[in-house]
């Protein structure tokens, strides 16, 4: 069964139609690549799923329509995401960026935290242990106490990826995780994505411009062009689709 179904969502910004009846779906354990030229509306689809924008149509997560839900309530359902430019929390170190994403899971309240009550301390320790596993998965353990602003761009984006994992999602939205990364960092990223898929078995939608990576890793590809769904299918078929080639040749 599909984890997430995006059903004919449309969205305009003051006369500019950004999404036009976009429909896609992703199943448990599936890695869906979402591709399309710049400005096609890929990030906007993510913003609609995560509750930052409110489109018409339906977005169903495990059968439940989530359009109109607040972003933190969407996250509470187990939908986590990364952002195109990393958008890590500059005021926090690497470990605390991940801890911030465990906000929903940590059960302490401000009073118990202020007083340093045993319950609050226990929660803090338990969740630090949880994120230690994710730091390890992404080879970030050695950087746990480093302020994120001291890190190179590629590492910051990796922190953004680890932070999304820290939420403990069952659906992960990755917005151009490889953009701005070096060749070597891309190879590492591909490995982390595959490892996440193998170890956690969660559904992922992955916006990506590196067609080689997409061809190698994706289970399925969905193509957006000018806010419309242009093609959907296995990599071999989609990447050789003349329509898709045309859309890409038109802009790149």
């Amino acid at each position: 069964m599909s984890e997430l179904v995006v059903d004919k969502i449309s969205l305009s910004f003051g006369g500019l139609q950004v999404l036009n009846e976009v429909s896609l779906s992703v199943a448990e354990g599936e890695l869906l690549a979402l591709i399309g030229p710049n400005g096609a509306g890929k990030t906007t689809v993510f913003n609609c799923i995560s509750g930052l924008y409110r489109p018409t149509g339906a977005v169903r997560f495990r059968g439940q329509d989530i359009i109109g839900k607040k972003p933190h309530d969407v996250a509470a359902l187990g939908i986590a995401r990364t952002f195109q430019h990393g958008e890590v929390f500059a005021r926090l170190n690497v470990a605390d960026n991940l801890m911030a994403a465990r906000h929903l899971a940590i059960g302490s309240n401000p009073l118990s935290e202020m007083l340093g009550l045993p319950g609050a301390r226990r929660q803090e320790r338990a969740h630090r242990a949880q994120i230690a596993r994710i730091l390890d998965l992404c080879d970030l353990t050695g950087l746990a106490d480093t302020p994120v602003t001291d890190l190179p761009y590629g590492t910051q984006k990796l922190v953004g990826f680890a932070r999304a994992l820290a939420l403990g999602p069952s659906l992960l939205l990755l917005d151009e995780p490889s953009a701005g990364l070096t060749r070597e960092e891309r190879e590492d990223l591909a490995y982390y994505i595959l490892k996440t898929k193998a170890e956690l078995g969660i559904a992922m939608i992955w916006i990506e411009h590196d067609m080689q990576m997409v061809a190698d890793l994706a289970d399925r590809i969905h193509v957006l062009d000018y806010g419309r769904s242009l093609a959907d299918g296995p990599p071999g078929a989609v990447l050789n689709d003349p329509e898709v080639i045309k859309a890409y040749l038109g802009t790149v």
């Binding site: 995560s50 509750g51 930052l52 607040k70 972003p71 933190h72 969407v74 996250a75 509470a76 986590a80 995401r81 952002f83 958008e87 929390f89 500059a90 005021r91 926090l92 605390d96 801890m99 911030a100 994403a101 906000h103 929903l104 940590i106 302490s108 401000p110 935290e113 202020m114 007083l115 340093g116 609050a120 929660q123 803090e124 106490d145 302020p147 932070r163 999304a164 939420l167």
Partner: protein, 328 residues
Amino acid sequence: MSDLSPMRVVTALIAIAALIALPFLASGATLDIANQILLATIGAIALMLLTGFAGQISLGHAGLLAAGAFTAGILAQEIAAPFWIGIPAAALTGALLGVIFGLPSLRLRGIYLAVSTLALHFLVVYVGGEYETRRGFSTGILIDPPVVFGFEFWDPVAWYPVLLFVAVIVWLLARNLLRSRTGRAWAAIHDTEPVAAALGINVARTKLWAFVISSAITAMAGALFAYYRGFVSIEAFSLFVTIQYVAMIIIGGMGSLLGAVLGAAFVTVLPHAIEAASALLPSSGGLAGSIFAMNYAAFGLIMIAFLVFEPGGLVGILRRIGGKRGTR
């Protein structure tokens, strides 16, 4: 996080020794200034949590101090409530006002939020003033000094350890909070709200908690101020007080608890330093009247100088001298 370099340990030990020795060495007047610094420290930590950490702008600080002072004053006056009722009651009043002060932050930000908190400042001052005139205390309310086991707290020497204790406790509570879920959520919404929200942080609730906690501490500081002075008058809570507190966190260094303390000390001592300096000038007689104006002017200049040349504040300077990244 807390790296215990020998340099830091020595500095901390010297500071602790000085704080303990002070009441034995200092005159009553000096100790009064020390007490004012401690009171300002509590208020500045409260504002630092809200603005320096959670990133919410407020110009309601004097109003909240007034609310706390008046809660203590009115309770003392009307039902002869002792301080151990007055202080929690003030904190509770502050927490409730914090919700009200915080509600506009769910819709507004920046200058608009500042103006809305300013409106609430005037509301609190209006209510306090009304109380004073209606009850015929047009010059202010007198409060008896707190009594503990028959011991009366009325002189600066007796107050010093109390205020030092409270300031240290408030620091520790704030530090605990900043190192927990709430503190991280404040940092997250301070950086970018949509990203924080998409990662599961309830932005509205996080902001409201910042206002509630900050306002409760502020009102408690206001109540302590009232007991310390033995007197409450609405005159003491002008907008200039708000500006002084904003100056404390800017001059001390945004986003640092140590900055709140240093800023509180700097801004509290500044007028006394100006007074002392002008007394040394040869024609001090003619200057006496203009000291007040000089104080305002010096204050403005220093604040601008920090904003332009040292946005990291006193803590930023210390860090550069130490050549190290400091902790919170």
